[in-house]
């Protein structure tokens, strides 16, 4: 199993690579379009500002990912990598996302609770989710973010912080998680294993 992990200079990749290696995957780090359309799996990590995804367009990675998705290569976006699957984010309104999911990501509402949302919070899991197979509702995963995607028909897990938001999204072979599976202990490793084992129904 060869996983192409996309490097667009938004944070470090060490933790994601380490978790994939631990699960027996081979990894290739791609900072250009080359090894994307031939990958067995694609992972788009990402922390920090949505604006960093501009680099995906500038380097030709966006169109390579579009092609790869058309070729049915399973894709997992993590954190900002998940948000990028949507139309965009109010964090960087001038920067388009992939638009695979039509909604917009927005900032948590200001109020009594702190923003960012940092720490372990629980999932409410849609039972038919292939990505979250074996993960029960109430399982905790690790989050760190200030923007989030709304709950929609494609949401496969919701988490409640200030209000419910999409903790995981999937439609067929295109998947995203707002939390960090590589930092979420056994539950997170299980989710990454499900992604590596994903097959079309």
């Amino acid at each position: 199993m060869r996983v192409t992990v996309i490097d667009y200079k938004a944070g470090n990749l060490t933790s994601v690579l380490k978790a994939l290696h631990h699960l027996g995957a081979e990894t290739i780090v791609a900072d250009g379009p080359e090894p994307i359309e031939t990958a067995d799996r694609i992972v788009l990590p990402g922390v920090g500002n949505f604006a960093a995804t501009e680099r995906l367009d500038a380097t030709g990675i966006t169109s390579a990912i579009r092609n790869a998705i058309n070729l049915s290569i399973p894709f997992l976006g993590i954190c900002v990598g998940m948000q990028w699957l949507y139309a965009g984010s109010s964090e960087a309104p001038e920067q388009d996302g992939l638009g695979y999911f039509p909604e917009m990501c927005t900032r948590f509402k200001e109020g009594a609770e702190k923003v960012p949302h940092v720490g372990w919070n629980s999932l409410d899991v849609r039972p038919d989710s292939p990505l979250l197979a074996g993960i029960s509702s109430g399982e905790y995963v690790y989050f760190t973010h200030s923007y989030r995607a709304p709950v929609s028909a494609d949401t496969s897990a919701t988490t409640h912080y200030i209000e419910p938001f999409a903790a995981a999204v999937e439609r067929g072979h295109v998947m995203g998680v707002q939390f960090h599976p590589e930092k979420s202990g056994e539950a997170g490793l299980r989710i990454l294993r499900n992604f590596l084992a994903w097959r079309s129904a």
């Binding site: 938004a10 944070g11 470090n12 060490t14 933790s15 380490k18 978790a19 631990h22 922390v47 920090g48 500002n49 702190k114 923003v115 960012p116 949302h117 940092v118 720490g119 372990w120 919070n121 629980s122 905790y140 690790y142 760190t144 973010h145 409640h160 912080y161 590589e182 930092k183 979420s184 202990g185 056994e186 997170g188 490793l189």
Partner: protein
């Protein structure tokens, strides 16, 4: 529901844990990789490794330690000690840390916070603050004095104004140690923790003074801490972070269980 975090802390010197994790059956200095893995298995939500005598010569030892510790650790992992530049931070991230903790170097050069945040994201920058109440100040708590160099030298900063600046520059979390409470086992300084937590939008990790389970209950309640360092929980008869969290759950604190 977002849970309160219990963070396992390893104080490391020359590649060995020198204090902070005193399991009943390990009385010696321990191996950081082994102890971090054990902490994770036994319910810690996160691990902090502090190199307490970081010197330039020991840089490579620290990086090797971080690499070995990170290899099989799949919960958030923070490394502090001797990080003086964005390049130092980059090496520690490369070795497998998820966050770095900066203290004296950030006071000396606050733009270090901006620099690390720009390259690695705010979530990766923890600013550690050691503070002592100032009885001569208008408000001894809000104006508690910040100390650097392991608490030896006053920094000329006040705790809340420095924490606010750190947040504005892009710190993702504050690790707040009360020098008054540290080592007393008489409880966290809840007033100090609350003063900082209320002034900020980023999480505050409380440290110093824990002696009983109730001290954790207090700091998560009255102290409004988002997380707490459990450096010495084993000093008062609890066998693991899990055991501590089970007690906290009984007291009504939301924690990650089972874990």
């Amino acid at each position: 529901m977002l849970t309160k975090r219990i963070i396992g802390c390893l104080d490391v010197h020359g590649g060995r844990v020198v204090k902070g994790v005193q399991f009943v059956d390990i009385v010696d200095a321990g191996d950081p990789a082994e102890l971090a893995a054990r902490h994770a298995r036994e319910g810690a939500d996160e691990i902090v490794l502090l190199d307490i005598t970081a010197t330039h010569e020991q840089r490579q030892t620290l990086l090797d330690t971080v690499r070995r510790t990170a290899r099989e650790l799949f919960i958030p992992f923070t490394v502090g000690g001797g990080i003086r530049s964005a390049d130092d931070a980059a090496q520690v991230f490369d070795a497998g840390a998820d966050k770095v903790s900066v203290n004296s170097a950030a006071i000396a050069s606050p733009s270090l916070i901006d620099a690390i945040g720009r390259s690695f994201g705010s979530q990766a920058v923890v600013v550690a603050i050691d503070a002592r109440r100032d009885p001569d100040a208008d408000d001894p708590v809000i104006d508690a004095q910040v100390f650097v160099q392991g608490g030896r030298k006053p920094a000329g900063r006040r705790v809340v104004e420095w924490a606010r600046e750190a947040e504005a520059r892009g710190a993702g979390e504050i690790l707040l140690t009360s020098m008054d409470a540290d080592g007393t086992r008489a409880g966290f300084d809840c007033d100090l923790t609350a003063a900082v937590s209320d002034a900020l939008r980023i999480p505050v990790i409380a440290s110093g003074g824990a002696g009983t389970v109730n001290h954790f209950v207090d700091v998560f309640g009255r102290g409004r801490a988002d997380a707490a360092l459990a450096a010495s929980i084993f000093h008062f008869g609890l066998s693991s972070a899990r055991a501590l969290k089970e007690e906290l759950a009984k007291a009504g604190v939301s924690v990650r269980l089972p874990c």
